[in-house]
């Protein structure tokens, strides 16, 4: 019965992963990926892997979204200025 929390976390992770794929706009996907990262950390904690959970938190909560959004910003900044070349 202690597995209930694991099952809930697993299902949430699966749902978040599916959402992350189906959301096609990179900004919105970055938001979902941030949630996915946090949910993965919770899942890892329930699987008794706090070390992995901690690194997932460190990477997933701020670092990856920051990288993704900086990339989006760079790409958009180009687009606003001149539009696609072709």
């Amino acid at each position: 019965m202690a597995d209930a929390v694991i099952i809930v976390a697993l299902l949430l992770v699966a749902a978040a992963a599916t959402t992350a794929v189906l959301v096609r706009d990179p900004v919105r996907q970055a938001l979902v990926l941030a949630v996915l990262g946090v949910l993965l950390a919770v899942l890892f904690t329930t699987l008794q892997a706090p070390d992995v959970g901690l690194s997932q938190l460190a990477v997933g909560s701020a670092l990856t979204p920051l990288l993704l959004l900086l990339t989006v910003r760079k790409v958009r900044r180009r687009g606003r200025k001149e539009g696609p070349r072709r």
Partner: protein
Amino acid sequence: MNRRIRLWLVAVAGTALAALLVAACLDLPDFGGDRHPYGDRAVDASLARHTANTVASVNFDQRAFDTLGELTVLFAAVVGCVVLLRQTRDEHRARPEPEPVARPVRRYALAVLPVALLTGLYVIAHGQLSPGGGFQGGVVAATALHLLYLGADYRALERVRPLGLYEAGDAVAVSAYLVTGLAGLIGATAFLANTLLPYGTFNTLSSGGTVPLLNAAVGMEVACAVVVLLARFLDQAVEIEDPTGKGSGTP
């Protein structure tokens, strides 16, 4: 290949692969099973060397050679990003304008920054005892530094970020890991052998032989690497202007 054919290919191949993998899952040992021979040996080996966090022992002692590879992957990615995101000959830099930040946000950022740095150091230092270690702590510390960009100003971040120093620190940390490994080869039995230093008292900061040293090297490497990595992306997103947009940086 147009989109529809690709979708069909993915659907058919994906279904076949899914069938194979699901069938394989049914053959796997049940989730939560009791048979973990390697894991049990690893726990014993860790306790024998007075390392309270078995995961740290696996990472920095038993499978330290893997961690060397992991460290190098990170190092290579940093060097790669430095090369890929360099300022090319046809690009130029524009100073970003300072951006307005609401006062509570600024205050929060400046107040939390030292807390986060301390937390990062704490997580690194307790790597061989409690959950955490060089990697996690390094990322926390490096991310914390970017509170300056998020909560204050890009220029404030640039002032505390002499990039050359961080790049050198990255390389020095990798060298430190390697030198510790070589010391094991020269002074003891094998590369990365953890037999040179006393194992200390169980569950104290200095326990585990070379584990804390390697842990610290990884922490330094990761912190420097993340700072350099983010710096390259920030450069691209904030400062570097495209070749075609010469002169008129902003609309």
